[in-house]
Amino acid sequence: MTAVTTETSPWKFSPIPNIEESNFNKILERFYGLGVQGLTKENIQNSLDGRLPNSTAPVIVKIETGTINRQDIPGIDHVIDRIKCLEGRNSYTKETIGHMLKSVNQDEVRYISFEDINTKGLTGAKNGQSHSKKDTWGIYAYNKGVHFEESDSKIETSRGGSHGVGKIASNAASDLHLMYFANCDEHGDQHLGGTVQLIEHLYEDQCYRSTGYFADLKEENKTSKFYPYENDFHSVFKKRTRGLKIIIPYLRSDFDSEEEIIKTVCDSFFISILDGRLEVQINDHVITAGTIVSYLTNNQYYNQEISEMKKVFTPLYVKTYKNENPREITVSNGERDYQFKLYFKYDEAIVKGRVAIVRTIGMKIEDFAVKSNATKPFNAVLIGGLEEDGYLKSLENESHTKISAEDIKDPLLKRQATRFINNLSKEIAKIIDEEMKRNNPTDGVMDTKDLLYIIETEFKQDLSNAYGAVKINQGKQVVKTTDVTTQKKTKKKGGKKGSVEPKSTGIKRTRRNNPTGTADELQESGTEIYSVSPNLVERLILNNHEFIQFNFMGIPEMKKKNSCHLSFNLIDGMGEEYKDEFKLKENYAHAFDQNSGSSCVIDDERIKNVSIRDGIVKLKLDLKPNYNRALKFVYYVEV
């Protein structure tokens, strides 16, 4: 019964004589309980169902969450008007209405949209509420509890879409129970529709049904028909390419999780994605056959420890599906046999064994636990063909979360379903058993490598020698001195005192207060400072004298020098050098140059003008009584 209203509201409610039902649609609550996971599965499934029949291109679903201005939501004020008139009769309804009222004043509104591409979209939008089977827009938009049937029975059988309640899943995700659907058909015609699920209410002295439709109402031959609006609305509501787009404003905060959506897409549709039949974009994330693995191996989304996988098994399923060769198994329901492919992997690290039951359309129905084998260490994926899909669909519960015989009314079909599920468990259990035996031979070596072992420890000789041996060469350390053991063989036979194997020159141009660095500039005085390898030095303390002898023979830098200044760096017990710790004048009374026979001046912490004759420096120092005979030095010459 449709009486024409004088309202020009874009939202149309059917008038009724009086209010009978004061509750919200029960299905709303059920879908609310399934969360954003249920919403995502529902909408992607519908998109898959709408794939272009003769195309090999993947169905692309773009999921977007964001914020829009309240003003840009078509007809929102009228919806809000209605909401303000709702009267709850019980606590639950009152609470729901209260919750709605809290949201109506927001200026900035969160939304989610699901847009599919490479899909058919709905047909016959222009014809509005035509009651024709061919006009799928009409069926979708204006009928509840009915879904349109595909004319191609093959496609119909494989269709995963739910029992006519798909749209309500989207209403349930909105605080205001509000959803829109934008269509673009094969001709490029763009229309926008929407529904809102309220309760029966009194508005301006007239009672109305609970469901509101975002549609135009036209009179034709004494009856009224709904017609969709052409889509000239805000870009969030626009659908420009062929396909369907669902827009849900006032997205519930607990549905507003990008992370959950990503996980749901991977968990439920990994087969479709891996097979290249589906691609999903969630805001900036793109999940394709090429990228899905990076999400599965990301700690943020999936626990990577196999031992921790007790509720979510997706990374295991994907590995199993990609790496294992499928086996053929046959499962009977008593009347006919169904053929499935089973991808199976045995792995002792797995804590709970599950079988992913997947439809060819690609949505995972259930993490099936095989009877009595729920904690066996395996992982499997089960996929059938078209016939199997159809049968599984008939066994599915309404939320697409498991197969069960419980909800089947017909006693014969119920019996067959029970038998089928039992046989499925049996067949898979057989394979589990087989694999277990194969991996655990009863006879053979016992693995005790974590209990009984011998430790082989390796020590190495530390070859690095603090002086002159290590050169920083483009960041790499190069050990210049030879191996300790070979040095033993190349003995020095008598010969030159203080001469050294000619591997290093024995002196290193440097600064005294930065001995490990290299000096690139000359000293201010125009002289050079070199540190002297201890190998070139003989030092001896006898009674109250210290003798120091340097042998610079063969050292190119010292060739033409016949005099130098000497300074002493103290070396402590840890090998650290100190420039200022040893005061020459406090320790030495006198410095005597044994080459020249004359004294040397000690000044400015240096022994000055020490002669070099034929490369040799000979110095005799008189010790003061407080001289510490336990000290060690590295010497520096300035030439």
Binding site: V445, I454, R539, Y635
Partner: protein, 284 residues
């Protein structure tokens, strides 16, 4: 602390790079044994100078082993000592562990008799007196590289439905064989199934060690001194012998069998208990 830096000492010091000694060489080699509680460092060193060697032999000089990891440990070595044992609660081996040998004088040393110096010192050496408690030489540094576990194959299992008992432990030629009457007893298919078999491993080791004691002990005795016996010919016994000696077990007897098992294995019972607990936890 180990000492690395080449520097000029006030008197001749024997090192591998010394220019004061005619044949400068002081080489150190270290290898390691260990068991659950202790490390044993096996020390092998060679000093090129007969003068210094004599001082060590007579006790006038002391060899000192320095182990440096998180702090320093000094060990005075007897002249013929080749090993030191350090409990794991006092030494931690990691990649920064270094070992060095020092030689220190125990009294004043006159270098007049030191024939091993270079000719430069001929004129002076009679006047060189090295005081007490002074360094005479230091060796190269040995650095800990890491260790690998070499597993021993000691156990086999067999399913034998004809058994008259549930379990039978057989001492085979090369291995200890656990016979099971039922496959179930092997706990196959259960996560961590290996650990559930640990009690049988323990029982197997006990049986094998009991036979070992019986076989190699002296008449009437109930213990075996592993340092005294020759290597067993029997392959299984040899494996046990190898395992025990590598883990520094000196004696195995009827009284200390369980202790020995604890030293030569890695927490058999603890791992079993852990696996049971985990199973209970997962069952929730």
């Amino acid at each position: 602390m180990i000492y690395k830096k080449d520097a000029n000492f006030p008197y001749p010091v024997l090192t591998n790079t010394s220019t004061s000694y005619e044949e400068p060489s002081f080489l150190l080699d270290v290898s390691l044994e260990e068991n659950t509680n202790d490390y044993r460092f096996l020390i092998n060193y060679e000093v090129s100078s007969p003068f210094i060697k004599k001082l060590i032999a007579t006790g006038d000089a002391q060899a000192i082993l320095i182990i440096q990891s998180k702090d320093n440990k000094f060990y005075k070595l007897d002249p013929n000592q080749t090993a030191i044992e350090v409990p794991k609660k006092r030494v931690s081996l990691n990649k920064r562990t270094s070992i060095q040998l020092h030689i220190q004088s125990n009294r004043e040393i006159h270098f007049g008799e030191n024939q091993d110096l270079t000719s430069f010192y001929d004129a002076f050496k009679s006047e060189i007196i090295v005081p007490n408690n002074a360094l005479l030489g230091y060796s190269n540094i040995v650095v800990f590289e890491g260790s690998i576990q070499n597993p021993l194959v000691l156990f086999e299992k067999k399913l034998d439905e004809q058994l008259t008992s549930d379990i039978r432990i057989e001492l085979g030629v090369e291995t200890i064989i656990i016979h099971y009457r039922k496959e179930d007893y092997q706990f196959t298919g259960v996560r961590s199934s290996q650990a559930f078999n640990n009690p049988y491993i323990y029982a197997g080791l006990r049986t094998a060690l009991q036979r070992f004691i019986h076989e190699y002990s002296e008449q009437g005795e109930e213990y075996v001194d592993l340092t005294q016996i020759t290597q067993p010919e029997n392959l299984l016994d040899f494996k046990l012998y190898q395992l025990m000696t590598k883990k520094m077990v000196q004696e195995v007897s009827v009284d200390n069998i369980d202790e020995v098992i604890s030293l030569i294995s890695d927490k058999i019972i603890e791992k079993y208990a852990g696996a049971v607990k985990e199973l209970i936890h997962n069952g929730d």
